[in-house]
Chain length 322, copies 2
């Protein structure tokens, strides 16, 4: 279990490393989204990365922090998609072999992209937790490093997008961010609270996979059923290190909302219509949440984190046919 | 009829102006696209602009070059979509009123976006040419400026994307660019020929709207039927100033390909699957062309210009249902 968190110096150092391989993503404003949300709203386009999701920022920072023996021994991870893509990208730029265990039925477009980056992808188990056990055992067997989704180096790299939001929109009032493992939301909290503590940070999770939300609400680790179609939000067991931040009364989440599967599918359609960007369900969750809190958001300057765009084509086809 | 072209100094000056409002777009590499095209291939993401298409670069430059009286008198244009969006954006950042004449059946998502930027949009005629006549008459009546799609200021601004390609990928061998009015292809030719003249520039047009292609091939102005669904390629009458560049044996297009409607729809699907980006039909045309010239492209470093992403939702739904 990862319990570490990056400190301010590590977050600052990570930002420089991130820009050696990635560029800042756009923060864009669409009249159609403004009208829907009922207030001035920006989309943070983490879907514009080549691998299609914010997590790659963490992978780049991890790659830079590996020792040569660590790189040679290889990286092992388990993922439903974007975390695995991030580590695959890290391995490619660092020259480290990467093995990713994925659960049965993993998003085929994400699997193909990991393989395209040179990773070995193995279907290992019925769900994320079985795949993780397999990957941890493989790492042990080969003397490589197992990389969970909330390692401090990953959170430090991911924090660069939060810094970009504050640089570009210093008078932001609310940031709405999806919560899966919580690395993105934690990175936003750590960044915002040191630079502009009064910004509201609202987490979003799927009603059909509320483990992180229940844990946050009850202030005690809580497992929950995991039945969402949004693999980016599909957490069955909460992560202690990110929860320690999200729950913190000083630096944690201001609010934590749940959204329905249908509202995420609607949000995918609305983002396609009004921004012409493809969002995966997790990436559309902030818009789904914002549409449910219009009264609260009225008059505020709102940023929705479009965390990733890796929606598989059959799922998109189904969403549009509904 | 516009006959002017920007000179090298105007292109250089435009680039600085463009970055006051827009940022460089990513040039990204996707393993899945490499495999399809059969060689190392990059996508130039002009769909990542807030208004979703490359033409906005020209609008920003035009806005900066307006005198105060010109701005007050307002801008008038006719457009099937992206050019009108570009001029609407220009008006917004310059504080100039904008009137856009669109033909019946214009892409509703583009019309909504123009209105969202504050432009007045008027359905004026059965096709682009009728809308253009209306807009020219309105400009005359109100003492404002009519802005055609190939004004020198627009080409100069658009050239910034070609410069970004050469900066980021100096050893590019082939650039494939869609041709509607020809402003994008002209901007690429003008830029490439001064910096790395041996780069192949391949234009792409729809078989179902081949006026620019026939004009280029025959070296004489040729009108043609205009039946494509790709409004970004829907030219019935060729534009003399861009044709003067595209036909030039020294600086013009190396090759000019036609693609079928079906191949563009396939390319939209393939881009969604492998890059998770939404392309409009014109924006997908370079991939469609590249898939038809794999033998020629083998071993070369290829850039496909994804010129815009403003595909209307009903059209996407239909493409995915096919």
């Amino acid at each position: 279990v990862t319990i570490g968190l990056p400190n301010a110096g590590e977050i600052e150092a990570a930002r420089k490393r991130v820009y050696e391989h990635l560029r800042p993503t756009p923060l864009l404003h669409y009249p159609g989204i403004d009208a829907l949300v009922g207030t001035t709203t920006w989309i943070k386009h983490e879907n514009h990365h080549g691998v299609g999701a914010f997590k790659v920022r963490g992978g780049v920072n991890l790659a830079a922090s590996l020792t040569d023996p660590e790189a040679r021994a290889g990286l092992f991870t388990a993922s439903t998609g974007n975390h695995g893509l991030s580590i695959s990208f890290a391995g490619k730029i660092r020259g480290a072999p990467v093995t990713v265990g994925v659960p049965e039925g993993a998003n085929p477009s994400k699997v193909a992209a990991m393989e395209g980056l040179g990773a070995g992808v193995v279907t290992a188990g019925k769900d994320f937790d079985e795949a993780r056990e397999w990957a941890m055992a493989e790492a042990e067997r080969h003397g490589g490093r197992f990389v969970g989704p909330t390692e401090p180096e990953l959170i430090a790299g991911v924090a660069s997008y939060a810094a970009e939001i504050l640089d570009e929109l210093p008078d932001v009032d609310v940031i709405v961010v999806p919560v899966g493992s919580g690395s993105g939301a934690t990175a936003v909290c750590l960044t915002v609270r040191t630079r502009k503590p009064e910004v509201e940070v609202t987490g979003v999770q799927a009603e059909a996979a509320p483990a992180a939300h229940l844990t946050w609400k009850r202030r005690t680790p809580t497992e929950a059923a995991m039945e969402t179609d949004a693999e980016g939000l599909a957490t069955r067991v909460p992560f202690p290190n990110t929860q320690s931040v999200l729950q913190d009364p000083e630096i944690g989440l201001t609010d934590f909302r749940l959204v329905s599967e249908e509202s995420m599918r609607d949000a995918v359609r609305l983002l396609l219509e009004h921004t012409h960007n493809l969002a995966e369900l997790a990436g559309a969750a902030p818009l789904a949440a914002a549409l449910g809190m219009r009264d609260h958001l009225a008059g505020k300057r709102v940023v929705l984190v479009l965390s990733g765009g890796n929606l598989a084509l059959p799922k998109l086809r189904k969403i549009l046919a509904d």
